[in-house]
C-alpha cells in the first residue's frame, strides 16, 4: 500500500479516538442545551420535552452508537440550537477558516523567504541582526493586539481594507482576509525565518556548494537551485507543525476580525452545548491536522530525493 494510502488509513483510528474523547467529554461536563434555548423559561417540563425531541433522554452509550451510525452514513446530526444539519453549518464556515490558514501561510512564506535569504547571505551583519531581531516582535505581541493595530491603521486611518468580515467572491475574500492573514503571518514568520536562516547557513557551508561555486555556477542559480531547495526542507516541517496548531487556534483572529469561521463556531457551540456541532467541528479539526502533516511530509519527500515514501 502506498505511503499516502497508509497515512489516510491511519486517519480512521485517529478520527474514532477523537469522536470517543469529544463525545463523552462534552456530554459529561455539566450544562444543558435545553437551557440555552429556553433561557429563564426553562421549566422541567419544557426541558424534558426538548430532551425527548433531541434523544438526550437515552443512555449515553446509545446516543454515541447513534452518532457513530449517523457518521458512517455521512450525517453529523442536527444542530440543537439552529435546528439545521451540523454538516451544513460546518461546510458554511469551513471555507473562511481555510482561507485564513492558507492565506496566512502564503503571506508567512512571502515574508520569511526573502528575509531569511537576506540574513543568511549577510551573516552577523547589520541586516542579519535586524532580520533576526525585528520579526521577534511579531512573536512577542499578542495576535489580538496586532490585529487591532492593523485594523486601526489600515481599516480606520488609511481605510484601505475592510474592518473585518469575510468578503464575497475571490477579490472580496482577498481584500477582507488580508489583515487577518497578515496578523497570523506576523506571528508565524519569525519561527520560519529562524529555521530557514539556520538551514541556509548550514547549506552554504556544505562541500557541494563549494564545489558548485568552484565550477562557476552563477550566484543566483546557486542560491535558488542548490541552497534554497535544500534549506527549505526543515522550514516546511516547522511551517507544517505551526499550521497544525493554527487550525485549532484561529478563534482569536476570527473573533477580532469577525470572520465567520469554524473556530468561532466551535466556541459558540461549546458554550451552548450544541453537542452535534462540537463533535462535527472537532472531527473536521482532527482530519485537517492529519492532512496538513501528510501534506508537509509529501512536500518534504518531493523536495529531498533522499527521503522515500516507502522507507
Amino acid at each position: 500500500m502506498s505511503f499516502v494510502g497508509r497515512r489516510l488509513l491511519q486517519l480512521v483510528p485517529v478520527a474514532v479516538g477523537v469522536t470517543i474523547v469529544v463525545f463523552f467529554m462534552i456530554h459529561l461536563i455539566p450544562g444543558d442545551p435545553a437551557r440555552t434555548i429556553l433561557q429563564q423559561h426553562a421549566t422541567p417540563r419544557a426541558i424534558a420535552e426538548l430532551h425527548r425531541e433531541w434523544g438526550l433522554d437515552r443512555p449515553l452509550i446509545s446516543q454515541y452508537w447513534l452518532f457513530l451510525n449517523r457518521l458512517a452514513h455521512g450525517n453529523l446530526g442536527q444542530s440543537l440550537i439552529y435546528g439545521v444539519s451540523a454538516a451544513s453549518l460546518i461546510w458554511q464556515r469551513l471555507p473562511a477558516t481555510l482561507w485564513l490558514i492558507i492565506y496566512a501561510s502564503v503571506l508567512a512564506v512571502l515574508i520569511s523567504v526573502p528575509l531569511a535569504m537576506i540574513a543568511a547571505t549577510r551573516k552577523d551583519g547589520i541586516r542579519d541582526h535586524v532580520v533576526r531581531a525585528v520579526p521577534l516582535l511579531g512573536l512577542g505581541m499578542p495576535p489580538f493586539w496586532v490585529g487591532f493595530l492593523l485594523i486601526y491603521g489600515f481599516g480606520i486611518t488609511f481605510r484601505v481594507f475592510p474592518v473585518g468580515g469575510y468578503g464575497t467572491g475571490l477579490t472580496g475574500h482577498l481584500d477582507a482576509m488580508f489583515l487577518p492573514a497578515l496578523t497570523v503571518a506576523i506571528a508565524l514568520a519569525p519561527v520560519v525565518i529562524r529555521s530557514l536562516r539556520a538551514s541556509m547557513l548550514s547549506v552554504l557551508g556544505a562541500d557541494y556548494i563549494t564545489t558548485a561555486r568552484s565550477k562557476g555556477v552563477p550566484a543566483r542559480r546557486l542560491f535558488f537551485r542548490h541552497v534554497l531547495r535544500n534549506a527549505v526542507i526543515p522550514a516546511i516541517t516547522v511551517l507544517g507543525i505551526n499550521i497544525g496548531f493554527l487550525i485549532g487556534g484561529t478563534v482569536i483572529i476570527e473573533n477580532v476580525f469577525a470572520i465567520p469561521g469554524i473556530g468561532q463556531l466551535m466556541i459558540n457551540s461549546i458554550f451552548q452545548r450544541d453537542f452535534p456541532v462540537v463533535q462535527g467541528v472537532t472531527l473536521v479539526f482532527a482530519v485537517l491536522v492529519v492532512l496538513v502533516n501528510l501534506l508537509a511530509d509529501m512536500t518534504y519527500a518531493s523536495l529531498d530525493p533522499r527521503v522515500s515514501f516507502d522507507r
Binding site: 429563564q40 417540563r45 493595530l149 477579490t171
Partner: protein, 525 residues
C-alpha cells in the same frame, strides 16, 4: 476591483507596518447623545443599513424562541395586532385598529386594519390571525404561557377576530402585542412549521433575505408594506461581531452603521467621536442580586436586608455602567406601567445594615458563595464590589465563576447561595415579571429564589383579573412595597440600552422593551 489593486494594497499594508506603532488615536471631535434623527430634513429612500450585533440569532420561530437577537429581527417581518408605545407603558393599534369588549369582559372583538397584505401578496384575514394566536397558545415549550387566559379565538368575519377568555384578563392587549402573537399566513401558507420559519412571511416592513448562520442575516424591503412610503431602507443586514472593539471599529470604519451594545467603558469616548451618535435609550433592564431562600441563612429576612443595605448602588452604577444608569428601588423598572416611585427598595446604609445583621440568626457573620457566569466582566465587577462591601458585616463572600451554561443550570436548579441576574420586559404590563418573580409555583420558582409571601402572590394574581387601573395600581403598589421589604432580591440598578450609530442614521429608536421599528429608519447622504 482588480487583482492589481489588491496587490498594491497589500504592498502598501506591508510597507506601512512599521508606521503602525506610531498610529495614535485621532479624528474625534464632536458627537452627540439621545435618539437618532436631529435636523436632517425629510426622510429619503434607499440605502442598505448594517447593524453589527453581539451574537447570532437562534431561530425565526416567534412562538418558541427566547433570545433577543432572534426576536428583534423577526419583529421586522411578523407583526401583532397591537404594539408597544414608544414609552413602553402602553400599547397602540397595529394590525388591528380597534376593539370592543363584551359586558362580561370575557370576549374582545378586534377590527382588523384594511388593506394589509403579507409580503407574498396575499391579504391578511381573520383566519390568519386566528391561526397565528392558536399556534402560539399551543407552544408548550415556548410562549404559550402568555396566552394562558385565552379560551379560544374565532373569526366571525374576514375583518374581525374575537378572542374568548376563560376569565377577565387585564394584560390581554399587552399579551397580544407580544411578538409571539405576530401574524403569519394561515397554515403557514401550505408549508410545515419548520419549513416556514426558515424564510418567514409576514406583514412587516421587511421580508426575508438570507441567513448565513454565524455570519449575517439580511432582510429586504417589503414593497407591499401597509404603511405607504415605508420602509425607507432597501435592506437591513445584521452581522455577527462578538468582539466589542471590532464592532466599534466597524462603525468608525463605515462598515456598519449601528453598533449594538458598545462596551460601557467606551460610551464617553463615543459621545465625542466625530460622525458617531451615542444613544442611551430608556430601558426596562434591571439588575438584581438574588438570594436562594432554600439555603441558610438566606431564609432570614434580616440577613437579606443587611446585604441589600450594605450595597452602594451609586458606586456600582459608576463602576459598571460608567455612570450611565440609576440605582434601582423597585422590582419594577420605571418604564413599566404601575411602577411605584416611592417603593422603599433598600438603599445603601451601612449603619442600618449592621443593625439588621445584629437582629439576624448570624449576627457575627458567615461565609457564602456568589455564583456568576465566567467571562462577564460587568458581573465580575459587581461581585468584587459586593464582596468588599459585605466584609464590614462579617460576611465572607467567595466568588465562583462557572461556564455560562453551568451557571444558568445551577441558578435555575437553586444550587447557589447568591447570584446575579437581570430582567428585561417582554410586554407593556408588569404581569409577566411579577408572576415570574414572586410566584413560587410559576416555572421560575420566584425568579429562582424560592421566595414565598402568600399575600404578595395573591395580589399579583388579583392584579391579573382586575380591569380597574386604580385597583391594579393599588395591588402592584403592595407587591412592590412588600417584596422590597422582604428583600428577596437586592435591586441593584436600572441601565439604558446603549447603541452607537453613524451620524447619517435617522429615526432609529429603541423602546424600553428593547425592540425597534426599522421602518422608521433612513440614511441621509
Amino acid at each position: 476591483m482588480t487583482y492589481r489593486t489588491h496587490a498594491l494594497k497589500a504592498l502598501t499594508a506591508v510597507g506601512a507596518l512599521v508606521l503602525m506603532a506610531g498610529c495614535g488615536s485621532g479624528g474625534s471631535s464632536t458627537g452627540g447623545t439621545g435618539g437618532t434623527g436631529g435636523s436632517a430634513g425629510a426622510p429619503v429612500h434607499g440605502g442598505n443599513l448594517v447593524i453589527a450585533r453581539t451574537a447570532d440569532s437562534q431561530s425565526m420561530n416567534a412562538t418558541t424562541v427566547f433570545d433577543n437577537e432572534s426576536i428583534w429581527i423577526f419583529e421586522q417581518i411578523m407583526q401583532p395586532l397591537y404594539t408597544v408605545t414608544p414609552n413602553g407603558k402602553g400599547v397602540m393599534p397595529w394590525l388591528a385598529t380597534s376593539y370592543t369588549v363584551s359586558p362580561d369582559k370575557k370576549t374582545y372583538t378586534f377590527t382588523l386594519r384594511k388593506g394589509v397584505k403579507f409580503s407574498n401578496g396575499k391579504p391578511m384575514t381573520s383566519a390568519d390571525v386566528k391561526f397565528s394566536i392558536d399556534q402560539n397558545t399551543k407552544a408548550s415549550k415556548g410562549w404559550g404561557f402568555i396566552n394562558t387566559a385565552i379560551k379560544s379565538v374565532s373569526a366571525p368575519t374576514p375583518d374581525t377576530v374575537a378572542v374568548h377568555l376563560k376569565y377577565p384578563w387585564a394584560p390581554l392587549l399587552a399579551d397580544l402585542s407580544l411578538f409571539a402573537n405576530g401574524i403569519v399566513p394561515a397554515n403557514y401558507g401550505g408549508e410545515t412549521e419548520n419549513q416556514f420559519y426558515t424564510h418567514p412571511v409576514g406583514t412587516g416592513p421587511f421580508k426575508w433575505g438570507y441567513w448565513h448562520k454565524g455570519s449575517a442575516l439580511k432582510l429586504v424591503r417589503n414593497p407591499l408594506y401597509w404603511q405607504h412610503g415605508k420602509p425607507y431602507l432597501n435592506s437591513v443586514t445584521w452581522t455577527d461581531v462578538p468582539n466589542d472593539n471590532t464592532r466599534e471599529l466597524q462603525l468608525k470604519g463605515g462598515q456598519a452603521q449601528i453598533d449594538e451594545f458598545p462596551a460601557w467603558s467606551t460610551v464617553a469616548s463615543l459621545k465625542s467621536t466625530q460622525g458617531v451618535t451615542m444613544n442611551l435609550f430608556n430601558s426596562t433592564q434591571t439588575n438584581y442580586l438574588a438570594f436562594n431562600e432554600l439555603r441558610k441563612p438566606f431564609q432570614d429576612v434580616h440577613v437579606r436586608r443587611a446585604i441589600s443595605l450594605a450595597i452602594n448602588r451609586k458606586a456600582l452604577v459608576k463602576a459598571v455602567l460608567f455612570g450611565n444608569g440609576k440605582p434601582a428601588n423597585s422590582l419594577f423598572p420605571p418604564q413599566v406601567p404601575f411602577y411605584q416611585q416611592s417603593t422603599p427598595g433598600l438603599q445603601y446604609n451601612l449603619a442600618a445594615a449592621k443593625q439588621e445583621m445584629a437582629k439576624s440568626s448570624v449576627p457575627h457573620g458567615f461565609s457564602t458563595v456568589m455564583l456568576i457566569p465566567a467571562g462577564n466582566s460587568d458581573y465580575l465587577t459587581i461581585a468584587t464590589i459586593v464582596q468588599s462591601e459585605l466584609k464590614p458585616l462579617g460576611i465572607n463572600v467567595k466568588i465562583q465563576q462557572l461556564d455560562v451554561n453551568v451557571a444558568n443550570t445551577d441558578e435555575q436548579s437553586l444550587k447557589y447561595d447568591m447570584t446575579l441576574t437581570l430582567w428585561t420586559m417582554d410586554i407593556a404590563d408588569p404581569d409577566e415579571l411579577a408572576t415570574f418573580a414572586v410566584d413560587p409555583k410559576s416555572g421560575a420558582k420566584s425568579f429562582f429564589t424560592a421566595y414565598n409571601n402568600p399575600q404578595v402572590v395573591k395580589d399579583t394574581h388579583a392584579a391579573q383579573r382586575t380591569l380597574s387601573t386604580t385597583q391594579r395600581q393599588s395591588l402592584y403598589n403592595f407587591v412592590q412595597s412588600q417584596s422590597a421589604r422582604d428583600a428577596f432580591m437586592a435591586y441593584l440598578y436600572y441601565s439604558p440600552y446603549p447603541y452607537a450609530t453613524s451620524a447619517n442614521v435617522h429615526g432609529f429608536f429603541v423602546t424600553p422593551l428593547g425592540n425597534y421599528h426599522m421602518e422608521n429608519v433612513w440614511l441621509s447622504k
